[in-house]
Symmetry: C2
Subunit: 409 residues, 2 copies
Amino acid sequence: MAIEFIHDSPGITDVPGFRVGATGCDIRNKNGDRLDLALIVADQPCAAAGVFTTNDVKAAPVRYSQTVLLSSRGLVRGVVANSGNANACTSTQGDSDAQKMAELSAKAVGSPHDIFVVCSTGRIGELLPMSKVAAGIATAAARLSNQASEGMRAAEAILTSDTRPKTATARFLWQGKKISVAGFAKGAGMIEPNMATMLAFIATDAVVESAYLKTSLKSAADQSFNCVSVDGDMSTNDTVILLASGVSGVVLNESSEATLKKLFQEAVDRVCFALAEKIVGDGEKITKVVAVEVLGARQRADAEKIARAIGNSLLVKSSWFGEDPNWGRLADAAGYARTGLDEAKLDIYYNDVPAVVAGRPLPENKLRWKEIVKARQFTVRLNLHLGDAKFRLLASDLTDGYVNYNKSE
Amino acid sequence: MAIEFIHDSPGITDVPGFRVGATGCDIRNKNGDRLDLALIVADQPCAAAGVFTTNDVKAAPVRYSQTVLLSSRGLVRGVVANSGNANACTSTQGDSDAQKMAELSAKAVGSPHDIFVVCSTGRIGELLPMSKVAAGIATAAARLSNQASEGMRAAEAILTSDTRPKTATARFLWQGKKISVAGFAKGAGMIEPNMATMLAFIATDAVVESAYLKTSLKSAADQSFNCVSVDGDMSTNDTVILLASGVSGVVLNESSEATLKKLFQEAVDRVCFALAEKIVGDGEKITKVVAVEVLGARQRADAEKIARAIGNSLLVKSSWFGEDPNWGRLADAAGYARTGLDEAKLDIYYNDVPAVVAGRPLPENKLRWKEIVKARQFTVRLNLHLGDAKFRLLASDLTDGYVNYNKSE
C-alpha cells in the first residue's frame, strides 16, 4: 500500500467531486491579461478546515473566512480567491467586499445560500475593484470544469511574484477504492512561519468531517508551511484550506483503521510539504535553498529559535548568496537566539563535512565546505549536544535582486 | 549650567587622565598599512564598568573582560582593542590569546600587574596572529599620548567596515571645575539591540566608583546603543566600556547633589546617543536612517517588539531603500509582532502626515508621504491607542549594496 506522488500535477482537478474555474479580470488595473481570480467549487457542500495567519493585522477575507468556517460548522461550497490585491487594511469596506465576493460566488453557482471561503493576496491598503471582481467571478463560474487545463489555470491565477505555479497530488488505494489528495499554492515574498504570504488549497475525495480535517491539516502545516522561511515577514493574508468532497466513499475519522489514518495523513503531509518546498524554491529572486537542521536541543522550541535566527539572519543569507561558507555567522546567529547553548559543545556541519566540532574550528575542511555551498541546495546542521530535540527549517538566501525587486511595488 | 557638546571631537584624548596610542600591525594579513590596534591607558588604575553582548556565543575577549571587571572590582589600567579579527569561536586558544593581550599591554606600560580590558572585532573563527598583535601593542604603547591626533588614530584603529570614525565629547562646569565625558565607537554591520557589532569606549575625569559608573552606563546604553538596528544581527563581541580617571576631583555618587548627578548622566547619555546615531548613519551601505516611533502601547515591551519588527523587516527596509511609502508593510510587520494590537485603532504617520487613522487609509495624502520618504532621515510613527507606553528605534534601510558587500568576507 504505497502512496503515488505526483509533482507538478494539475492540482485540485485531480480530485473527484471538485471543479475549478479561473479568469483574468484586471484586478491590478494594468490592462493585462494575467489570470487573477479562481473559483474552487465542490459538486455539493463539503467539509472544510482552514489554518490562518496569526498576524494581529488580519486581512478582511481572513476574518470573513474564519467566521464562516465557525458558523457553518465547516460545511462550505467552495473557495473564491484573487491575486493582485490583498484586501488588507481596508477597514469596514474591506469586510463588506469580502462578504460580497462570497455571495457573488454562491449566486454564480446557482446556490445563493451556500458558503464560500474567501482568500486574497497582493498589495495591502487598497480597496478591491469590486465591479471587476464581480465580472471575474461570473466568468470563472462559467468556466468551472474538472479538466486538468483549468486546474493549471487556477493554480496560475493565485500567483503574485511567483514565477511558476505550485501543485502536487498524492493518491493511494484502500480496499480497492482510490483516494486522492491534491492542491495548489502560491508564495514568493513575506514567507515565514506560521504561514507566510501564502495561500494553499488542498482537496480530497475522502469522507472526512471538518474537525478531523482540521487536526490533519494543522499537523501537516506544522511540518511544512510552518517550517519554511524566505524573508521572515509574516503576511496578513496567509491561508491554507483543506476541502473534502467525500465522493470516494472512504470514511476517515478517529475510529478508522490505523493504517488508513496513517496513509491519509501521509498523503496530506506530502502534498503540504511539496507545496511548501516549492514556495521556498520560488522565493523572490533567491538562488539557494538551505535546510537548517538543529539537533541536540533541550526542547524543540530552542531548536526552532536557533534555526529561525540562522534562517532569517541577513548576514547568513547574504553569505549563502555569495557561496561563502561563513560558519562564524551561523554560530553568531545561533548564539543570539539565546537558548543557553554551550559553545564548547557545539558542532557545525555543511552536509556531512564538519566545520566545528565541540567548539573547535576545523579549517582544514574549508575547501570541502566551499564546494558544498556552491550547490543550489545544501544542509547546515548544528548539534548542540544538550538534549534530544530538533527542528528543521527550509530557508533561502538573500540577494541583491530581492532588495531591488521589493524597493517599490 | 549647560552641557557643551562636540560632534566629531578627538574622543578620549579630550579627557584628562588618559592617553591613547594606535598602530597598524596587519592583523588582517593583507600587508596593508591600516590601523588595527589601539590602547587606552589611564595615568593610574581607574574605575571601569562595561556592558556586553548577551549572545550565548561570546568571544574570548568578552569572557575575559567580564571576568576581570568582576575580579578587579572594576579597577583597571585601560583597554586594548583590535580590529580585523574577532577572536570569537576560537576555543581555549582564544581565551589564552585574550589574556595574553591584557598581559602584554600591562607590561608595555611598565605595570605588569595592572588589569586591562580586552576587545576585538572582525572576522569570527580565526586565531589571532599573536606575534603581530604583540608587536602592535609595543608600538601603540610607545605612541601613548593625549594629543588629539592620536585620539583620532585610536578611533580609526577599531573600525571594520565603517567608513568613518565616530567620536563625541560632552563637557560641563560644576563649581568652577570642568568635567568631561568623551568617547569613540565602531559599528557598521551586525548592528542590533542589546549592543550590535559595536565597540564603544567612553571616559570621564569625574571621580566615580565602578558600581555608579555601571548604573550610569547601563541607563545610557538602554536609551542609545540598545535602540538602534541596522540588520538585526547581534554580535559575539559587542562591548561598551566606561572609564573614570577622577582627575577633575569632582565626586559623583548616590549622595551627590541631584543637579550634578543629572548633568553627569545627561553628558553620558548624550555621548552614547551621539555614538549610537553615528553607528546607524554609517551602517553598511545604507541610504536612509528612519526613526520608528511606536506610541500608545499597553507596555514598553509591546512598543519595542513592534518597532523592532518594523525596523528589521526586509520588506519594510527594502521599500525605504526604494523611497516607496509602503505603509501596508508597516502595518503587516506591526501585526506580526503579535502584541494584540487593534487594527481599527491604529494610526500611522510619515513625519506629521497621517497615512492611516483609526485603521482607515488616507490615500489623498500619498504625494506628501512620497515627498517625506525621499529625505535621508524621516520618522514613521504608529499610535496603537491602547495605553501610554512607547519606544523609539533608529533603523536603516536595506540596500542591494549591503547584500553584495556581505556576500563574502
